[in-house]
Each structure stands twice: as structure tokens, then as C-alpha cells.
Symmetry: C2
Subunit: 389 residues, 2 copies
Amino acid sequence: MTAASDRQLTALSELAGLVAGGVTRRSQLATATGLSRAAVAQRVDLLIAKGLLVETGTVATERGRPPLTLQLASATAVVCAVDLGATHSAVAVAGLGGTVLAEATEDLDINDGPEAVLTGLHKQLGRLLDTAGHPAEHVRAISIGLPGPVEASTGTVIRPPIMRGWDGYRVPSFFADRYRAPVLVDNDVNMMALGEYGHRPATAHLLYVKVGTGIGCGIVSGGLVHRGATGAAGDIGHIRVPGHDEVLCHCGNTGCVEAVASGAAIAATLREAGLPAEHAADVVRLVAAGDPLARRQVRLAAQRLGDVVASLVSFYNPDTIVLGGSIASLHDDLLADIRAAVYRRALPLATRTVAIETTLLGRRAGIEGARRLAVQHLLSPEGIGHMLG
Amino acid sequence: MTAASDRQLTALSELAGLVAGGVTRRSQLATATGLSRAAVAQRVDLLIAKGLLVETGTVATERGRPPLTLQLASATAVVCAVDLGATHSAVAVAGLGGTVLAEATEDLDINDGPEAVLTGLHKQLGRLLDTAGHPAEHVRAISIGLPGPVEASTGTVIRPPIMRGWDGYRVPSFFADRYRAPVLVDNDVNMMALGEYGHRPATAHLLYVKVGTGIGCGIVSGGLVHRGATGAAGDIGHIRVPGHDEVLCHCGNTGCVEAVASGAAIAATLREAGLPAEHAADVVRLVAAGDPLARRQVRLAAQRLGDVVASLVSFYNPDTIVLGGSIASLHDDLLADIRAAVYRRALPLATRTVAIETTLLGRRAGIEGARRLAVQHLLSPEGIGHMLG
């Protein structure tokens, strides 16, 4: 099958998705899809031949002939999930079913530029594959979250505010000679949003608001990341908040929420007051130590951020808002004021069901979302098409 | 087929959609879907039996046997599209392919309550069906846009700011005894957004911002209205704009964009200045007459609204923003300031491709969107299921 039609790819994707969802027998697949047994057999055999599915006989029946059971391949197929931050790279090798086989975090400096950072990442990935006992040929997809804007369709970094030397760099090209697998690249906050979404089965419309050094947002509806026209969706850090037009933001505008409510902004205010606060992490430390001024500044930041979150609730009407990032670890102080702002500003129809929560996955949200995106892609018509090559 | 599976409904929906899109021969449908000719025949025959498709032999071939051509039924199937405003009802009877067969607008007062208004609407619809030469049994779907929040899944009006007597009213129940067709109800701004989207083939993510007496927004991505968790999405009128915390809004909060940039707000400001401006329409009239104070107030409103639109661009990253509503007819004055605000506030990745335009359809956007939603529903698995059921 060298030139599979869109329709054929959709049918293969549907079958693979059913197997991933627990429909494990050929007869069940025929019933679920309405396809004939012959048509199921032809497609399933192709997916087995390409190494996406395996079939095993494990259950003995009364008649003595064990029915064969299909599942996603595990012995010969893995995905690599990467959460690349400003100062760290977290990497996991995982099975298609979700089992993490090996995982490690290393320090780096994103401003060393793409070649140096990705070379280090490639080595880290190699070590983890060794640990997991899988050769590079087993890698079926690589999924990378980056701390900056990405054109997801091409994996190109676009005018990142941090990430010196990365502007215009097309990340998948680095891996093209090293792995045969597709390389998916997205903004780290989108990955985190997808990770949190995957752990909330009852959620349909989720916003993940990250409050760390900066402020960003990931949007997931119906299991899919909303990236917008150019991949810039969720870039909420430069929304103007009322009452702060005197505060200059690094973007050149004034009154941006990132300039008055981010970890960096809180730290700057505390420094001006003579407290030892260089980074967002220092803010967290001071609040944990009970410093009243630090707590006060976090609560003020929560009120300002709450105004922005309230406008997102009015516009998008999500059922779940997840707060993540280092400042979100201060949830006692942060949640109350954000919730208060949302309930005060947004209308009842939008607020009566919205849950405003902190992260379930913490620092693993990004890597978990990357893993999920990799498998989602692998089972998609596009991913199947890549596999059939 | 009394209990068609989801899969069967999806297959039928796909076939109907292909026919609607111009795939008109059974052999072409088999190629396009990968189904056998027998399977196509069985499904097509069902859709013909149910009156959704018709098959005609119109083209003579060399061998003398005219190949049969499928198309959406037109002689026996229509949809009714309704745009219900505060003071008018615009109704159209249209063929499934989009041809408007009859259309009329009548005056009403939405505050007469649902029974009175819908009884009048029912009569209006009856007259139009007479004009179009179709009995009530030909109506396959009724689609109604309302000037208030609607829970679209049930067609229930929820706490409308105008529409006295409608709170909690389930609109489809009124029509249940009168037509066998499904009744789709949605906020009028969502309908307008869908109408404008349908006339822009290159658009993927569209926001329709209505600036009339009030301010609202409809969101369409990938051809589907984004309604959010409770149908409240797009309710942007009460987003807070910077610098106007002294202005009281009818919602009880202060500084809402609707309180400082809507047609009603501009009219109020002009009244205070001694100008004869009761309604948004008076603002339009004054600007058209060249009144400088009226123009000034419209431009100030555009700047305030522009701040909100900029935050929506940052968050949602649309490729198209359409301005509609009575104030949007003043586009020379409105567009420049809204564009300026968006380009000043939102980041380059989000603004470099966004088009900010006025409506293509004008007052017909709502009725055109309702028509489109009716056909979209009719050809959907859910609509097919209703038809079979």
C-alpha cells in the first residue's frame, strides 16, 4: 500500500484507536466498525506488519483454541517525550500504552542555542533508550515541548522571548538524520495543557494557565490542542490588565499581565522592597517561609491575573482551569483570589460549572502531554500515513 | 433500520456530505469511501427512501444508458432559518443546497414572551411555506437564532438580559407538535459567526464581534461553532476594559466593555451632551450626518473595544475577525481604531496574518448562519439518526 487514500488512513487510524481503547479481538473490531472480517483482517495485518500492533494468544477457551488478542506493540515500539525548559531537559521513553520505561532530567542552558542543546538532548535520549533496552529503530515518534512560540505544523521556533539563537530554527530537521520517526514540536504550555487534560476524563474544555517566570496558557477542547491560525493561541502574557499602565513590560508595551503578575514581576517588586528575590523560585521560598510582604504580592498578582482569567472564562467558557508553574505551587494564596475575580467578573452561565484547580501532574505535566501528543499523532491518519511512508 | 449504530450513522452522514459536496454518482461514492458498490447502494437507497437524496437520470451517454445522478432532495425537502431579534423576526425557507425560496422580515416585540412571539413566528413560517409551495411535512429542520444566551444542547433560554419571560423556556418544545423536524436553537451571534464563516472559504478560525445595542462574539473553528461548556462562550460584553472603573454596567459590575463601547453606551454619552440619541440607530444616524461629537465617541468606543479584541487575538489567534452589528456599519471610524489597538497590543506571531473586516452579509448573517446550521445538522450523524428514528 504505497499510496493509501485519506479514507484508508482514516480507517486504519480508527482501527488502531479502537485497539488502543481496549477492543482487542478481530471479531469485535468488525462489529465496532461495520467492516467485513476480511476488510478488518487486511487492515489489521498491515498494522501488524508495520509494527504498530501485535497479536498474541493468551487465553485458552473451552474449545482449546485460544482467541488472539490485539494490542499496541510494546516490545519494538516506543515514543520519546521531551520537556525542554530554560534550564532543564526532562526526557521520557514510554510505551505506546503509556508506561514510562525510563525518564531523566538534566540541566542545560537553552541560550546555548539549538545545535548545542539538541546535541545534548540527543545524547540524553540515547542513554535513556539504552536504559529502556530499545534501539533507536524502535522510536516511533519524538515529541518536544519548548519554552517559546512554535509553528507546530513545521516545528519552527518563532521569535522566542527567551531561547537565544533559536529564532527560525526548524527543530525536526535536527533529528531527520538521526531517527526515522516523526518529530512533533510545540510550546511547552500546550504540552502541559494536554497532559492535564488526559488526567481529567470528564473534562471537555480545559485552559492550563502557567504562572512561573512568565505567564502563558494552553487550550484543549475535545482532546485537541487549539493552536490557532499561526500557533500563537494561548499567548496571554501581554494582555493588558486594568490599572497598571505605568508598568513597563519587556515587550515594550505597558500594563501587560506578565509585567504585573508573573513570578519575575513579583520578584522585582520584592527586590525593590529590599527582599532577596532574584527569581520566581525566590518568591516561592519567601512565601513558604511566611514572609508577609511576599504573600501580599502573590495575592495582588492573583487578583490581576484573576481579571485576565475572568475574561478568558467569559470568552471561552471552559469547564476546567488548571493553574500550573512555580508560582501556582502557592495555591492557597493564589487560588482564592483568582476564583474571587472569576466569580465577580464573569457571568453566571459561564461560572456555574467552571472548576479552578491546581495541577494534578505538577512538573510532569509537560512530559506527560508530550507523551500523549506522540501517541495521539502515531494513531492519527497523518501518523499512519507517515508510517506507511 | 431502527437502531442504526453510531458507525452506520457516521457512514450515512459521510455519504450525504459527499453528495452535498458534488460527488453525484454511486460509482464515485464507492471510490471516495472505499465501500463496496453493494454497501453504497444499500445506504444510498436508504437516504433516498427517507427523502434526503434524490436520483435522476439526466445525462445521455454514448451507450444510451443515462448514468444516474444523486443530489440533495429539493422538491420535497426544505429547511427553515430564523433570525429572531428584539424587534424583528427574519425568516427564510431554503432548499438543502442553499437556495432561498422565500424570505420575509416582520416586526415583533421579544418581550411579549415566548408563546406570543413563537405563535407569530409559526404563522409567519406558514405563510412563507405557502409562498414557497411546500407543505409543513417538507420541513426537515428549523434553526433559530435568539438575542440571548441559549443552552444549545436543549434549546433552552438561560437568564437572558433582554427577552422578558423567556428565562428557562425550551424553544423546541413549542414546535414539537407542529413539525416533525428537529429544532436547533442558538444565540444569534453564533449564527452570524457561522454565516460569515461560510462565505470565507479560506478561513479556519473566525471571531464575529457584534457591536450593536450590546456587545457579543461568536467563535467558529473548523466549521463548527465553539459554544463552550455551558453555551456561554463568546459572552464578551462584560470583560473589563482598563480605565473605566467608574462606569456602572447594567450587570452590576463596573468598567465592562458593553458599558463603555456599545451602541447603547455611546448613545447615553451623546444624550448627556445634549444630542438626540436614544438608541444605537441614533448614533449611526448622527455619525452619518457628520456630527463630530458622535464620531469622536464612536472612535473612543473603538479604542476600548480594540483593547478587548487585542486580548482575544492573543488568546485565540484567529485568522479572521468580522465586525457586525449596527455600529459596525460605521466601519471607517470603527475599523481603524480597532486595528490600531490589535496591532499595538497583540504579539507579531498572532497579528501578522489576522484580517479585521466588516461583515460580508450584513443583516443577513444571522439567517444565513441559521440556514447553514440546519443543513449541517441534517447531514450530521445526529441529524441522520433523527431522520431514521
